[in-house]
């Protein structure tokens, strides 16, 4: 029930990520760590809007009706969540590699940064999946998606940016990294639960 049938969108997103990062490289060269960090998360944000947002918007009315008749909403939203997380994780890893190749590597603790990036991708994709479901109801309007999603994602994005500074060698208070990480994981769980609880109400039409 996933969109493997629309492979061109998937490759489209891949190309989108690659070309954005390439343009960044042409524009910036190899920036220092604060800029690098900021750029990285901004790219993730926009990739996520483009990749995950599509998951509901490109569904036609007819196909939604078909899904409606064969599966329960809870299963549907869970599969959507899993799908968008997987896509987003792929994108995060791809952009990590590209950032590494093109924009240099100010990261001190690589494993930690990869972990944080994956956590971030997870948070972004989960929030935007439900936002996309809401926006799809509002006449497939892409602007609505940005209006709804951006304020909601800012807190997590701020936490992520702060957290990833740890990987650049900034010294934190003892336990703070773990604390922020746990807080983010908690937020993710909250978002999953809310999506599962709330989606059945969106679904009915």
């Amino acid at each position: 029930m996933l969109e493997l049938r629309q492979q061109h969108t998937f490759f489209g997103i891949l190309l989108y990520v690659a070309s954005t990062i390439f343009v960044l490289y042409l524009a910036m060269g190899q920036p220092e760590s604060t800029v690098y960090n900021g750029l990285f998360w901004m790219i993730q944000l926009f990739v996520c809007v483009n990749a995950v947002a599509k998951s509901f918007m490109q569904e036609s009315q007819g196909r939604m009706l078909y899904f409606y008749s064969i599966v329960s909403p809870v299963h549907f939203i869970i599969s959507k969540l899993i799908y968008s997380t997987v896509i987003m994780l792929l994108m995060v890893l791809l952009s990590l590699v590209l950032f590494r190749i093109l924009l240099g590597n100010p990261v001190m603790n690589e494993l930690q940064f990869i972990g944080i990036a994956c956590l971030g991708g997870l948070s972004l994709s989960l929030v935007f999946t439900l936002m996309s479901a809401i926006a799809a109801k509002a006449h497939q309007n892409a602007a609505i998606m940005a209006i709804l999603g951006f304020p909601l994602i800012i807190p997590q994005l701020l936490l992520l940016i702060r957290l990833s500074k740890a990987a650049y060698g900034e010294v934190f208070r003892e336990g703070a990294v773990l604390q922020i990480g746990l807080l983010l994981t908690g937020l993710d769980l909250l978002v999953i639960v809310l999506s599962i609880v709330l989606f059945p109400f969106l679904w009915r039409d």
Binding site: V127, L130, I134, K137, A138, H139, N141, I144, I147, L148, F150, P151, L152, I154, P155, L158, L159, R162, R173, A176, Q179, I180, L183, G186, L187, L190, V191, L194, L198, F201, L202, R204, D205
Partner: protein, 227 residues
Amino acid sequence: MKLNWWKILCIIFLFVTFTAGFLIPVPIIGNLHQSIRNFFFHVPMWFGQMGLLTLSLAYSIAYLRTQNLKYDIYASEFAKTGIVFGILGLATGSIWAKYTWGEFWSNDPKQIAAAIAVLIYLAYIVLRGSLTDFDKKARVSSVYNIFAYFIYIPLIMILPRMVQSLHPGGMEGAKGGGNPALGGGSLDATMEMIFWPAVFGWLLLGIWISSLKIRLSLLVNKNLIHE
């Protein structure tokens, strides 16, 4: 005008706030001087906003459970008044910040969080505006409202306590953490006597404003609501 007991209470509380709040002697703390009186206006705004948004959440849940459009109108009007309180809170806070921290806006985590909160709920209004079908509007915006509330609470409650902040209650707050809204133990007994009436006075005023708007909105949409 129907004058219920809580409306009278609201008037008395706000009267106390506006008279005693300006007249009682206040403790001089650091560079706050007399500007600490803003405490009776700025902080209750946030209590009021939280209270109104919580009511809005409650009515959104009630709508999803009962599918009664009345509750959706309640939820949206409470959210709108909540936004007004949020903007007033930002404004009073900025003026206070200008005279104590030197700038209207100093990118304090709490300022950012409060601004984001206003953005989130403005998005709620935009979302409502973009949908034309009444049932769909009610359902979709209720879902967003519930989702937004649960993102907003960690944002305003947890985040500011984890980072350094100019507000009291930050990680390096003078009194070592504690409740960011109440300034640790720096509140003396007379101030507290004014503060709590101020909080409830403003909250009741918010509910009063919302209830007027709800009554208007119920009349406008009378043909949609089936009792």
